[in-house]
Symmetry: C2
Subunit: 366 residues, 2 copies
């Protein structure tokens, strides 16, 4: 009885948000997003670790402010352009978790460093020398973290000795302050990461190199916050979650705040429908899955192919087939590049549209 009532409430709610909706468009359930923000903050608080959410997922000033309102100590950006947008909005404690390099970025970096409390990551001496070059004539030193690779094989020095050596290099460069370490552990147990961090910390201490920050991150490792000896945590995807995070066990379907709403445009032949969302809406990001997203109300349907503005959906195994004109909900495989495709996104509360979220740092890749 309760289940039945809940089901019919959900349907009524859905009818409201879809009414007159211009598709394809992402829709964020703001209650779910806010619950996610609070949940991650509580996890950080419980672990005694500062929360510095990564804004790459939402790229929105409003969402960054909401994260700070709920207790975040600052934010993380991946690119300088994102950080500039956030600084312009008055957010004044930012980590750029990225090797910043190149003449075009150095003047921007120096300017940003004068304006806010800025920290950047670095994993090699060429980048470090450039950072020094960028800021050495300014009055304010730039805080730099040594990025360490503890198994993800992306950026980062790969040995504890090279981490210590780079820390020494940074200390010796004019205009730079060595501030600590940045890690991005692979999904799963963090024992190897913890050992790496402990070793570097010991070696640094013996050289008088003070590690005041150890920044860790990643929504999939949210149950292990604090376990690698970090002082702060940068998670991004947790604010919306996606099919990937559900697959990792880092979220349930009910924790997914963003869905793409699309319209069925055609039913050209038996077993196949077409929707108005393609790779320019949902991206071609498979994230290890075999299809391009989940039709949450039609779990037996499969988005097996994309053109730029067409989604090809196999409905062979569906008992009920979505009708032409029907608006369907899709859970993206990977939500972060999806919000990056839109200038603004529909906000929903209690199943009703309640405004739009501007994606202020959309497209700021440089």
């Amino acid at each position: 009885m309760q289940d039945d009532r809940r089901k019919s409430e959900n349907e009524a709610v859905s009818a409201d948000v879809r009414d007159g909706l211009d598709t394809p468009v992402p829709v964020i359930d703001i209650d779910v997003a806010e619950r996610n923000i609070v949940g991650l903050q509580q996890a950080c608080d419980a672990a005694g670790v500062a929360n510095r959410p990564h804004i790459k997922t939402h790229k929105s000033i409003e969402m960054a402010r909401l994260q700070i309102k709920h207790g975040a100590s600052g934010i993380t950006c991946q690119k300088l352009g994102e950080a500039e947008i956030m600084a312009d909005a008055g957010i004044n404690d930012i980590l750029i978790s990225y090797n910043i390099i190149g003449e075009a970025k150095h003047a921007r970096l120096a300017d940003l460093n004068e304006r806010i409390k800025l920290t950047v990551a670095c994993d090699n001496e060429v980048v470090a020398a450039g950072l020094s070059q960028a800021v050495k004539a300014t009055s304010k030193p730039l805080s730099v973290l040594v990025e360490c690779d503890t198994g993800r094989h992306r950026c980062g020095v790969t040995t504890t000795s090279s981490a210590v050596a780079l820390a020494e290099t940074i200390r010796g460069l004019p205009g730079l302050t060595f501030a600590g370490l940045m890690i991005y552990p692979p999904n799963g147990p963090v024992d190897a990461t913890t050992e790496f961090v402990d070793t570097v910390r010991r070696e640094c201490q013996s050289r008088g190199l003070d590690i005041s920050i150890v920044s860790a991150g990643g929504t999939p490792n949210r149950t292990r916050i604090g376990k690698a000896g970090e002082t702060e945590y940068r998670a991004g995807t947790y604010i919306y979650n996606d099919r990937q995070m559900v697959g990792f066990g880092a979220a349930t379907k009910d924790d997914c705040a963003l869905h793409v709403y699309a319209t069925v445009t055609s039913h050209p032949e038996e077993g196949r429908i077409m929707i108005d969302a393609g790779s320019k809406t949902l991206t071609s990001d498979l994230s290890g899955f075999k299809d391009f997203g989940v039709l949450v109300d039609y779990p037996d349907a499969h988005i097996y192919q994309f053109a730029e503005e067409h989604g090809f959906v196999d409905v062979t195994n569906c008992q009920k087939i979505p009708a032409i004109g029907e608006i369907i909900r899709i859970l993206p495989n990977h939500v972060c590049p999806v919000s990056n495709l839109f200038d603004d996104i529909v906000l929903m509360r209690d199943g009703r549209r309640c405004g739009r979220l501007h994606i202020d740092a959309r497209g700021k890749v440089s």
Copy 2:
């Protein structure tokens, strides 16, 4: 001797465009793009077929105007939002090659139809009824093409009889004018398409249904323009070309006008470098390839993985390895979703930067 001179000229040229470039960013060689525009126009002229380029690739008013200046009779848009942007810029002959459906779009459609010479495609009765509903109270009929599937299995009626039946339906609906057919033949010989079109034409003629337009498209079939009995051709990708078009034999490397310029940010271990272009720059579109683009100056390197802002490049087989800080050129697998990620793109002429191209219709997916 001549080869040597050419090589050193090219290198000087490259040094210029890269000097102080803020990466990652697409760079368009405007001479190559203009040559591509002229070439496709000549192919259409030679076939006696009108040229109606698809703007989905460039999404730029300036490029659309250049196509029209060189002889295009009008343009093609995939989405209503793109067409609105182009109409606002004074382009007044537009085909929207897409099923337009839903209350939110109907008012916009009626408004656009009043302002310009508009044609839309349609492959089913539900969409047709909606189009009629949208415009029937207005003073101007809407021209509608029946979209036919001749083997690509995207949208389109799949049989000649259903094409004729839909043409009849459109004729019978208030506010609509049946104007002809739209086809998008699969890559390769178009014999089946030609037969399909001939049959529908015959059947329509016998019913007094006038086919004044047959619109075909696709850059890969550019050598077969006119062969399916079309009156106009809508190619999109040809303006820039990409790795995919080179693979199809529809272009050579020298015909590729757009490259993404990225910077090497790290060389974390033997055999691997990292670049500042990831899936938010080049997209995850594999287009059938095994890696995410071609490093044209380092053809033995492979972009084997993407994070959102990181490209993972295997340089194991490279004799020379790009240095940290070096700006490298990447030919995208599929160029169309790449330009859709940027507000503006760098223009280059004679190897020197000469301005920026605004991507006016970027993100206009609805």
